[in-house]
């Protein structure tokens, strides 16, 4: 078994942005992603849906360079107007080659 060090990006955002965010991360090089329905509160707390706190969490495992590209894009494109938070971590992935 080989473990490869990769980055896991986590994006938490209002549910409305899901399709857009997925399209963006795919375009920027992600080969897969996982979405979880979550709810939460933050500093802004605005949400354009009847259901307050109805968020999604997107996780994607990518190579470190791609991680930086994605985070930079998110920061520039979404952070001003939307309720979005994003961070990265290092993970050791089984058969990690296939995600690069």
């Amino acid at each position: 078994m080989n473990l490869v060090e990769l980055k896991r990006i986590t994006i938490i955002s209002e549910a409305l942005l899901e399709e857009r965010l997925l399209a963006d991360i795919r375009r920027l090089g992600a080969r897969g992603y996982t979405v979880t329905e979550v709810r939460g509160e933050g500093s802004r707390g605005v949400r354009a849906s009847e259901w307050e706190g109805n968020n999604i969490k997107i996780e994607t495992i990518v190579a470190p360079e791609i991680a930086l590209t994605i985070l930079a894009w998110l920061s520039e494109r979404y952070f001003v107007s939307y309720a979005v938070i994003a961070y990265q971590e290092t993970v050791e992935v089984v058969r990690g080659e296939k995600y690069v």
């Binding site: 354009a48 849906s49 009847e50 109805n54």
Partner: protein
């Protein structure tokens, strides 16, 4: 007095009381929760059933009877957002984006307000025309398009890409899709074809609406908080706006020949503010508009106002304009 009777009947209907119960559940911090999935299912059910019923009735409605009310509805969809935008800018001193965002909501329509109006008028003995759900489908989109167009004209901010995306999403949006889908199925199947499914889609409608209003009450109570930072003008507009738009709707409905019930329902449609289609479109096309304002106003104030006092008011006006009789 007849309109007081309507108000009273309205305030003591299971629907309105369930809504109040939902509000209380949140205000008293009860741990009563209904799952978001129920909300999704019920709102689809209500829209689809409405469409189905409307479609079935549309089949045997002569085209001549429908075209004038349809034009009037489109007229409302263009006039109301312009009127609202103008007032919000001039008197309300709102920013272009916020004014356009709020105008989009008030120009569009709330299907639950429509259902409640239709149910209450029917129960009050003023059955509205059967084809009204088709008009709801017509009223949903135009105002949003007009308001986004306005914002685009006045600023570069509603950037082309966003607006285009919002419009595409709008026309295939879940509420239009469910309503129009039901309508078409109703038209194609006709009364005979629809009969086997009436036990499921028609008979439990009022009960399902009651349950939905309970859930909506909980949502509404949470939304009201978002209005904390809104100017007093917005609070006032959230009540006087509907009365103004609703009166225009009743007048227009009466003038194109709708019955007492039909005109009152058209007025309620005009008075109502969208909280499903409009917020989604506006959030995408005008991300800088404050959702606390447009959702807080339409869901937190205008919806409960219409549900309790507004609908009887439009009914009374309609009754008056029709010479006091059904």
């Amino acid at each position: 007095m007849q309109s007081w009777d309507l108000v009273r009947a309205n305030l003591t209907s299971p629907m309105v009381l369930a809504f109040v119960m939902g509000l209380l559940a949140t205000w008293l911090r009860s741990d009563l929760r209904l799952p978001a999935e129920l909300y999704t299912v019920l709102s689809f059910y209500l829209l689809f059933s409405l469409g189905l019923k409307g479609g079935e009735e549309l089949v045997h409605t002569p085209f001549l009877m429908v075209w004038k009310p349809a034009l009037a509805t489109l007229g409302l969809g263009v006039t109301v957002p312009l009127l609202a935008y103008f007032l919000l800018r001039r008197l309300g001193k709102q920013s272009v984006t916020d004014a356009a965002a709020i105008a989009a909501h008030y120009g569009s329509v709330s299907v639950v307000t429509f259902s409640a109006a239709q149910t209450m008028l029917t129960m009050g003995g003023f059955k509205p025309e059967g084809f009204l759900p088709a008009l709801v489908a017509l009223l949903e989109a135009p105002a949003i398009i007009v308001a986004l167009g306005l914002a685009r004209l006045r600023t570069g901010r509603a950037n082309g890409e966003g607006v285009r995306e919002a419009l595409r999403d709008l026309l295939t949006g879940k509420s239009i899709f469910a309503l129009v889908g039901g309508l078409l199925i109703g038209v194609i199947c006709g009364p005979e074809g629809v009969k086997p499914v009436t036990v499921f889609f028609f008979d439990p409608f009022k009960g399902a609406l009651t349950l939905f209003l309970l859930e909506l009450g909980m949502v509404t109570a949470r939304r009201l908080r978002d209005l904390r930072s809104a100017s007093r003008f917005l609070w006032i507009y959230a009540i006087l706006g509907p009365i103004l738009h609703g009166s225009v709707g009743v007048l227009l409905g009466t003038s194109v020949g709708l019955s007492v019930g039909g005109s009152a329902v058209l007025g309620s449609m005009a008075a109502s503010a969208s909280y499903i289609a409009a917020p989604a479109a506006v959030r995408v096309a005008l991300p800088d508009a404050n959702p606390g304002y447009y959702l807080g106003m339409s869901l937190g104030i205008t919806f409960p106002f219409n549900l309790t006092l507004g609908i009887p008011l439009y009914a009374a006006l309609s009754l008056y304009l029709h010479g006091g009789h059904g």
